[in-house]
């Protein structure tokens, strides 16, 4: 009650106390069970709320064996859900929210204040006794609002967990692919190095012009830059993963050498959109918000004097600005001049606005899940095409080139250029595989939480300029 509140003579105190009895207690789990359930239903993983040193020790013990071996994507997510400090901070919001809920259900203590002011010889004494009559009147409404807010906090916390899981999965695939890429770039470097060195020796022997020698050297020089970039990207992705998993050092993470294989067939998803309507947390939040507003509207219409719509509208999302404002404000007005017509109209407009927003959420959710599925199928097809067509074809080309080298039909430089191009196509294949797994995660996210950033459409493999054949 931070604005002008009128003191009303309390008559309904007894009745109100009766109504509110039992609302003012803390739950044993602090609301976390619900978060746990929401998360587990969607990604099949447990999360933990670390509140004590014992909890922390439990987490350390639980993640140690997972870090002792090459990390799987599932283990990466498990560690992140237990160990990411940002997620723990969002769980802490639960406590704050629940405290508010409990607070709303309690009658405020009577306040007695005594003031003494002196101005020259004058002394002014001020005494007041404020009795929490207002609390009694607004308690049912406030509790209802706080309960809704608490529920939203739970949904938000579950959403944070889902988002973290998605981030972790995607970063994991990125990191493994980046590491693989760097390894393959080493091979390209090796080929370029061999060619440059051979060119140097050919120039020394008098068999190569400065032009041909310089071309091979230039290519090698370019490859060194690309290798440095590939290594840097690998480090970046690894560090990102380390942060998401809440680890103190990147060295704690052991990445496997390769990405998981593509599934033998892409998933066929039935009732994709209906499932998303059931499971998506943003849709659930929008629905709850709407029903909350509906009851507020009803109350406004009934009382006309209780303004409940100044509660700040909770955007039905959990991953926007962290500085969300939440709270409410309740005013009781004496109907002397204004009989509340405008207030009702405003309430109706706000309700309608919420209806539009909720339906926008639903429309977006459906579209996002369709888009994510399309990306999933496309990336699968592309990755499989790389695996089954492009890479084997490049291999066949290399085999044929070797036969031509054997017959002295092409030079060793052409052979090396070809082996580089084969390596690069393997690289592009890895990127395609990574894109698939990221799209796979994005699809999961689109079905359960809110669509992550659209699956990054992988650009064409970076073509390395080839020196002219010899």
């Amino acid at each position: 009650m931070n604005r002008s509140a009128l003191l009303l003579r309390s008559t309904a105190l007894g009745a109100a106390t009766l109504v509110l009895a039992g609302c003012a207690t803390f739950s044993p789990d602090g609301g976390f069970d619900s978060v746990q359930t929401l998360t587990k239903e969607r990604i099949g993983k447990n999360t933990r709320w670390v509140k004590s040193d014992a909890d922390k020790a439990g987490v350390v013990a639980a993640i140690a064996p997972l870090l002792a071996k090459p990390l799987s994507v599932e283990d990466a997510v498990t560690v992140a859900l237990m160990n990411n400090q940002g997620l723990q901070a969002s769980y802490a919001e639960l406590g704050i929210s629940e405290a508010n809920l409990v607070q709303a259900g309690r009658i405020r203590n009577p306040v007695f204040s005594f003031g003494r002011l002196t101005r020259g010889g004058e002394i002014e004494l001020e005494r007041s006794l404020m009795l929490p009559v207002m609390s009694l009147l607004t308690m049912p409404v406030a509790t209802r609002i706080e309960r809704r807010s608490f529920e939203q906090a739970q949904l938000r916390a579950a959403g944070e967990a889902l988002r973290l899981a998605d981030d972790t999965r995607r970063t994991y695939f990125s990191a493994v692919a980046a590491q693989e890429h760097a390894v393959y770039m080493e091979q390209v470097k090796l080929a370029a190095e061999a060619a440059a060195e051979l060119a140097r020796r050919m120039a020394v022997a008098g068999n190569f012009s400065k032009l041909d020698h310089a071309r091979e050297q230039a290519f090698y020089a370019d490859v060194l830059v690309q290798l440095a970039r590939a290594r840097q990207t690998s480090t970046e992705q690894r560090e990102r993963l380390t942060r998401l998993m809440g680890l103190s050092a990147a060295a704690l993470v052991q990445l496997p050498n390769r990405l998981p294989d593509l599934p033998t067939a892409p998933r066929e998803v039935q009732a994709l959109e209906a499932g998303a309507m059931q499971n998506r947390l943003d849709v659930i939040m929008a629905r709850r918000e709407l029903s909350g507003l509906a009851s507020s509207l009803g109350l406004t219409k009934a009382t006309r004097f209780v303004n409940l719509l100044d509660i700040s509208y909770l955007r039905n999302s959990f991953n926007e600005s962290p500085n969300r404002e939440s709270g409410y404000e309740i005013e009781l007005q004496i109907p002397l001049f204004d009989w509340g017509g405008a207030r009702v109209a405003r309430a109706e407009a706000m309700y309608m606005q919420a209806v539009q927003r909720a339906s926008e959420t639903a429309v977006n959710a459906r579209s996002e899940v369709r888009e994510a599925y399309s990306a999933y199928r496309t990336t699968y097809d592309i990755a499989r095409h790389y695996r089954d067509e492009i890479v084997p074809l490049k291999k066949r080309i290399s085999d044929e080139q070797l036969l031509r080298y054997n017959g002295m039909l092409i030079s060793v430089f052409e052979l090396l250029a070809d082996s580089r191009s084969q390596v690069l196509s393997v690289n592009a294949s890895i990127e395609a595989q990574r894109d698939f797994w990221m799209a796979e995660s994005a699809l999961q996210m689109a079905q359960t939480g809110r669509a992550a950033a659209p699956a990054a459409a992988s650009k064409a493999p970076s073509a390395v300029a080839e020196p002219a054949g010899h």
Binding site: L190, E197, M202, N207, N406, G407, M408, L409, L415, S419
Partner: protein, 463 residues
């Protein structure tokens, strides 16, 4: 052997041919014998008509004919063929009667010749009788002297073989494509007098060149000069038969050049004379001895010699790249380049990579897999090892006691003792007493005396 396959019964590559030739016309056509092998066929002694001494077509055959009221009738079918260039490689060519080049046509001076030409190619063609004196309208130049022979059509050429000598036939329609695809054949007009210019062995073949991408089978018909397969009668060494002669045989070799460059043809161990040119027989008094004669584009030459030296004698084009098969022309020279450490690095990427060319171009005894339908660059194995030859190379095998008319390969020459070059073993072996001018005996090395040894580079594969 000649497969006496009826032209209309045979499955032609161009299916429409049968329908387009009328039955009445068909009944009067001489048959068109087919050949399915690329081996040298024995000479075809004339069963009828004027007598003559037949030629032997190297890796080829002579087209049988029909006598029809005193006219020699031949039937050439222009058609797609598969020609074995050498064991291990088959080319998709265009030719005549199953082979490319087509069969040799042998007639006698004064013969009236009627040639039926059926076109089973997908485009029109014609036949130009290169070097013949004939009515202009029989010269076979599309547009100029006749319309093209459309696919499925049969044309008739008829003229008198006036001038004895060595000739060729080839299309004069879409010439560049059709000749690049192998459309050509040999023609010999024998003298009326069987004893004129008589020889014991009379070989003939055409020079031709193809550009067939390694791993493929069809020539690139747009190639103008950079051919990669240089052939005698569309065969490359070691797929070319030897020319087998008896000791002291008078031998004639007739060569026609239908490539786009000249070929200095070189014979080892004997001198020859150019006895015939495009214009006919040369005056014996004007012939001079040679061991190499250049055969320019579009020319024919007949060379003659007495095979007086027994042995296996190389016979080849002297342009060294014409005695090789397909090779890369943009391959840098690796001679003298130190490969230490580099091969290992490359092997990590290309496990089957081997260093080649750092000692020179010789492939030594390396046998490495090549693209399919591709012949090694330099090949052929003789009794002393790799011959490192390909393309326009063969041997003239002169043997005592080789029966007249026997063209069977007698195998490698057995050298009499002491007539083969050998490795110098320092002073350990007694040198045979050398014939020398008087007074030089004192200068010869004495047994046990140190002789300067020249060290040769190590062999291939020692790195």
């Amino acid at each position: 052997m000649v497969s006496r396959r009826d032209f209309f019964g045979g499955a032609g590559a161009v299916a429409l041919s049968a329908g387009l030739v009328s039955r009445v016309g068909a009944a009067s056509l001489p048959e068109a014998p087919q050949m399915d092998k690329a081996a040298t066929r024995p000479p075809l002694s004339p069963p009828n008509g004027r007598p003559y001494n037949p030629v032997v077509t190297l890796n080829g055959w002579t087209l049988p004919w029909r006598m029809n009221n005193g006219v020699k009738e031949f039937h050439l079918v222009a058609e797609p063929v598969v020609r074995e260039l050498a064991p291990g490689m088959k080319a998709h060519l265009w030719g005549y009667n199953g082979q490319s080049p087509g069969p040799t046509i042998e007639v006698v001076e004064g013969d009236r010749v009627r040639l039926f030409v059926t076109n089973k190619l997908p485009e029109h063609t014609s036949v130009h009788w290169h070097g013949q004196r004939l009515p202009a309208g029989m010269d076979g130049v599309t547009g100029l002297t006749q319309p093209g022979i459309k696919p499925g059509k049969t044309f008739v050429y008829e003229f008198i073989a006036k001038r004895p000598g060595t000739f060729m036939y080839h299309p004069h329609a879409d010439e560049m494509t059709q000749m690049a695809m192998g459309m050509m054949g040999f023609w010999v007009t024998h003298p009326k007098d069987v004893n004129a210019h008589r020889v014991d062995r009379d070989f003939c073949f055409l020079l031709n060149a193809y550009d067939i991408e390694p791993g493929s089978a069809t020539p690139k018909t747009a190639t103008m000069t950079d051919f990669n397969l240089w052939t005698f009668n569309s065969r490359v060494f070691p797929g070319i038969d030897s020319m087998v002669c008896g000791l002291n045989d008078r031998v004639r070799i007739r060569v026609g050049n239908l490539t786009m460059t000249n070929h200095p043809i070189h014979l080892h161990g004997h001198e020859f004379v150019v006895a015939g040119t495009d214009g006919g027989w040369t005056n014996p008094a004007s012939r001079w001895p040679e061991v190499t004669t250049d055969i320019a584009v579009g020319q024919m030459r007949a060379i003659e010699f007495d095979a007086t030296e027994p042995g296996d004698w190389a016979f080849h084009c002297h342009k060294s790249h014409h005695t090789m098969n397909a090779m890369g022309h943009d391959v840098p020279t690796l001679i003298g380049v130190d490969h230490r450490g580099i091969a290992e690095k490359i092997n990590k990427l290309v496990p089957d990579y081997m260093v080649m060319g750092d000692k020179g171009g010789s492939m030594g005894d390396m046998e490495m897999p090549l693209p399919e339908n591709t012949l090694p660059m330099m090949t052929g194995t003789g009794p002393f090892g790799g011959m490192e030859m390909g393309g326009m190379f063969t041997t003239v095998k002169v043997r005592k006691g080789q029966a007249r008319g026997d063209y069977k390969d007698p195998g490698w020459y057995k050298h009499p003792a002491g007539t083969v070059a050998y490795e110098w073993q320092g002073g350990q072996a007694d040198l045979p007493a050398a014939q020398q001018s008087p007074g030089t005996a004192a200068a010869a090395p004495k047994p046990g005396e140190k002789v300067l040894k020249v060290r040769k580079g190590s062999g291939h594969g020692s790195h």
